[in-house]
Amino acid sequence: MDELKNGDLFSIADLKNVRISIGKIAEEEEEWEPMGPHPMPRIATLRDWDFKLLNRYKPFYAPVCDMCCLCTYGKCDLTGNKKGACGIKMDAQQGRIVLLACLVGCSAHCGHGRHLLHDMIKKFGRDVPIDFGPEVDVEAPLTRLICGIKPKTIADFEQVFDYIEEQIVQLADALHTGQEGSYMDFESKALHMGMLDSLNKEAADIIQIACYGMPSSHEGGGPDVPLVDVGIGTIDTDKPVIIVIGHNVPPAADIGDYLTENGLEDKVELGGICCTSIDTTRVYKKAKIASALGRQLRVIRAGIADVIVIDEQCIRADILELCQKVHSPLIATNDKAMHGLVDRTDDDPDKIVDDLANERVPGVVILDPEQVGEVAVKTAIQMDKKRRKLRLILSDEEFKFYVNECIECGNCTLACPAGLHIGEANQSAATGTVKPLADFFDLCVGCGRCEQVCKKHIPIVDVITKAAYPQLKEEKGRMRIGRGPVWDSEIREVGAPIVLGTIPGIIAPIGCGNYPNGTKDAWLIVKEFAERNYIVTLTGCMAIDAGIWKDKEGKTLYERHHGRFGAGGVLNIGSCVSNAHIHDAAIKVASIFAGRNLRGNYEEIADYILSRVGACGVAWGAMSQKAASIATGFNRLGIPAVVGPHSAKYRRAFLGRADLKEDWKLIDASDGSEIYIEPGPQHLLVACETVEEALPMIAKLCFRPSDTDRGRSGKLTHYIDLNLKYLNTYPPDWHLFVRTASDLPIATRNALLKKLEDEQGWEIDWKMKKITEGPIRGYDPSFNPTNLERLIRKKR
């Protein structure tokens, strides 16, 4: 018999009407690591770990809505933690809504990943190897950790998505009326969803890296990835311009291929918004990034695009209307976002181009990514000629007319998510001072709600864009293209300094652009920590926004700092799905540096990371449901996150209480003894009001019980210094992190000892320069912290 393959059919000659289908053929598996206790965990498998986290970092709820209206018993008033008709209390209802948000976010990444896998198998076949080059052996840490699988080809991710999809359905089931009733269990499920989401992201990014040859550790990858232009001002509007928006790169990649194959690379601009633009720069070297998500409306309104191509996620729901207004034909390429357009997937490309270029249709759906390139490029070339005469930025006269029309009724301010006092700025512009309006360009989150309520029908977004136009034209930054995985060799170099604390932390600015005070905060966060020798790993819109600002010498942060995963590095890891590599870096510290087994061993690795890896996520402008599931996934793995003030609207935080001693008890795995520790990290998810408050908070959330005295001294230096720099005072809790005199920075040790003596009543032996009484615990270099009793080596 011929060799059988998965999915083959065969007939047996003597048996009529019998046909046997071969399903999955079990192959002998390579022995690579013993299987851990929790491969492919189900809803309740890691519940004990979740409860350990949730008992220390108790869910905090701030409802956006005091009612429940999910079933016909309702609306139910839950104010004051009352029960609804079904018996659910306000706290559980909030947990339920959080789970719902994580479900939506996780499903978006899962749908994206599965869709990508289908497209890639169709284009490249099932056997594309997962080969990230000589510096990456641990190719898929989350997949190994959660699924117990070592993927060799992209087809191996089919079983990963099978697992995730099954779990998503089970978790969605828990949302139904009459299911879960405990907020703690809703949160455990949300944490499970977050973990699945991290797995989605890893799978999706690995698949696209493998298939498109995106940077990894092959030549030119890692720290050596090239820089790319960022900013509206970098788009050359003298050429036909294609703008791609979304997250799923195959259609944009096809445009790049078409341009290359037809020698049009220098004749047509391919730019993008949001994560698709980041991923496009990973596959097409001439691609540019027009903006992050926050400027989507304004880039479209500015009319720079001769054609707009959308795929999925974070696309404006009114995209078609916006495109029609500026005569930019729209090509929708994903069945999750078709915007009422006609599916023309199998039509003759020239016929489609003709219809689009002559504006017989405002847009089309093309669901086969390999058909998008030709249509998009040909349409852009034709539209460029027609659109040249359009003038989409307001004239000086129009601008003057509109600002004088404003009656300062305040409706726009009440509608504005940022509460901007637009009327005041209009008034100022009417009297000749345009700066306040121009300044709003960066502060505005670009939603357009203001225009709908304006009694005078002022196109407020356009008025702000006009005011800021001179700066806008000069918005020309640089960013490293997404480098993908952190190399194993880099982890070998920095694993020890991270765990011992001598590299003070890994800071991960990620996510969307709903900032409280503009994009410059993203730049400041990166600058502050990179200059202090933290490792800064960025993804998504924060990676873009941090790249548009320059220092006095005209250099961006990506030009100023190296791209290695090492002290002082500023790394663009890639798009939203790439941020799985930040989880992976933390996991690889446990695996490569500490030698812990990964396979099916989530709980132990998360425990290790929580106690030893000083990493902190920063989602300063988190907006979407994906951001909710991303942060929750980081949290289950033991990585805290600081979010911006808008994120209080996610309803839930995970907050520790430094004043509750019993919450901070750990086990020394060496002998099983219980030890009260300092609150490190104090929170798992916390919002700060301003960037000035966030900077010291981020530093604070890098303390870990495993820090050596030298490492703690460095972390304490930054924590105190950032407080003095941005809050003008010492932090009220700095003493909690002092275990011994050698934890104190040498330069200020005596002064700090004196403060401990005077302000905290600690006893100091001044002769020996030692603390004799006061700290929560002493410093023990052999302390082997864990939250898991099963890891105790030998009970005392």
């Binding site: 409802p63 005091d66 009612m67 609207k649 916390v686 003008n728």
Partner: protein
Amino acid sequence: MEIPFDVANIPGPEMGEVVSPEVIGSYISNAERPLLVVGSEILRDDFFIEIAIEIGKNGIPIAATGHSIRGFVDTEYADNVTYYNLHDLTNCLRDPNWAGLDGKGNYDFVIFFGILYYYASQMLSCIKNFATDPLIRAVSIDRYYHPNARMSFSNISPRREEEYKDMLKRLVKSIRR
């Protein structure tokens, strides 16, 4: 009915009452353990720091959230001011057993002042929904109508800044402790 400063921020059946500065002053006067929570918006004008300090001088402790602590450090007023992250502080407030800033227990009346609108609104929502036994009354003295506060001023546009400042002066004047 007053429109919330963020127009769609309508939480449900229980929405805050718009009151005069004197009413809030009277509640502060009668509170057993009031707490003033200030945010970074007070830094936009020294006047607001002065108002916070005036309230503080009535023996009311101040939790300085965001980076508002800078204003107090710069004016060298440190008697009863403590930096606290607002999320962290609100989390403590919902715990009846919290020892408070002075170790003497939780508070019964909380005044929000100078805090970013939407962040304050969410924290007021937490207090309204979960700090119920014993009850903590949370009020806002910002220039926004806060539906999640038990009592609030109405929306006051920047054009009426002087009127708002007058209201704050009236509030301070009406506190008797």
